[in-house]
């Protein structure tokens, strides 16, 4: 929701070196990946981890207030949103493109290699329920949607200054997120080792296209890694909430983590339909 703009004297810029250190760590790690240098990649990961830890430690010491940055000194006829929220929406726009590329490439693969009659045909795609457990994943979808609802309730509670319910709903969201990941891990274990759906092969005797497995794991795995990041973010804000880090006036981090969490939910709604039901 749009927040009222803070008065000028309340606006305080919290300079921090940690984002720069995180960026350096990511840069070093990236160089390690493209040059196939494991030691350099590990150095990058260590710098990144240290930067993230330092930033979290610093942020734990103070409430998270809305930050409008330079926007406060610029005349505008448009209603303003905070710099962090604008940054989060921009990030989510890039995520829309990222997931579209993953889903789009998988769908193209399906059409080109799974359509009988084409020279590139390698076998039919699995029908809904032939290999994947649709009812179990339907339950998992319901769990993820419920976690979005508890996240909304957590934000609403802190806006009413109800800290007990705020902590309860944050904890519930965290637990529901962990449950979603646990069920997905169980599903992967069953599919890979039980059914024989691997990165290179479809289950023996099923006649299913061998590219079905990699397409499935790429789409759901990328989403699962995003859920994992969301669970880590939720663990962080939940810990901060239990330390009294959010107030009725200062709780923007809850809203931003919530935006990311709901986005992950939206992506899953489409993935569930495309991967499991179509």
């Amino acid at each position: 929701m749009a927040h009222p703009e803070p008065a000028g004297e309340e606006e305080e810029h919290h300079g921090s070196p940690w984002p720069v250190i995180i960026a350096v760590g990511m840069g070093v790690g990236y160089v390690g990946i493209v040059s196939a240098s494991v030691p350099m990649l590990l150095v990058g990961v260590v710098i990144f981890g240290g930067g993230a830890g330092g930033w979290i430690h610093q942020d734990m010491q103070e409430p998270s207030s809305a930050f409008y940055g330079l926007a406060t000194s610029v005349e505008s006829r448009f209603p303003r949103v905070s710099a962090r929220k604008l940054g989060t929406w921009l990030f989510l726009a890039t995520e829309i493109m990222f997931f579209s590329a993953i889903i789009g490439s998988s769908f193209t693969l399906r059409l080109r290699t799974g359509t009988p009659g084409l020279a590139t045909f390698q076998g039919p795609w699995a029908t809904p329920g032939q290999i994947l457990n649709v009812p179990l994943t339907g339950l998992n979808t319901f769990i993820l949607i419920c976690s979005s609802l508890t996240m909304v309730e957590a934000l609403a509670a802190i806006e009413r200054d109800d800290k007990v319910k705020h902590r309860f709903y944050l904890l519930a969201t965290l637990l529901l997120g962990i449950t979603f990941l646990s069920i997905q891990a169980f599903e992967y274990q069953h599919l890979y080792f039980g059914e024989g759906l691997t990165f290179t092969h479809a289950p023996l005797g099923s006649g299913v296209n061998p590219l079905y497995g990699p397409a499935f794991y790429a789409q759901t795995g990328v989403h699962g890694s995003h859920v994992t990041a969301g669970v880590l973010a939720l663990a962080y804000v939940t810990r901060k909430a239990f330390k009294g880090g959010f107030t009725k006036e200062n709780h923007e981090a809850i809203e931003l983590v919530g935006l990311y969490w709901h986005f992950v939910d939206v992506v899953w709604i489409f993935l569930f339909t495309i991967v499991y039901l179509v």
């Binding site: 604008l86 769908f107 949607i145 909304v152």
Partner: protein, 76 residues
């Protein structure tokens, strides 16, 4: 509720009269409705300044380009 209906539509034996393509279109429409509700109400986009919606819409515009390119590739 919508998720339950989606599963029922794809379960053999339920709704057998639905033609395959129509079934897929129906599933896409239902998931779009679900996602739109989450974006509008859970993500508060309905209550935000209108211009903020342009940001995700810009991402979706590029998705439209991607879909058009993929469709052309597959048709070719």
């Amino acid at each position: 509720m919508v998720t339950g209906l989606e599963i029922a539509i794809t379960t053999p034996g339920y709704f057998p009269v639905l033609e395959h393509t129509f079934r897929i279109v129906l599933l896409v429409i239902m998931s779009t409705i679900k996602a739109s509700l989450v974006v509008a109400y859970y993500m508060h986009l309905r209550y935000e300044p209108r211009w903020l919606a342009l940001i995700p819409l810009a991402g979706l515009a590029l998705v439209a380009v991607l879909v058009a390119a993929l469709t052309a590739t597959v048709a070719h």
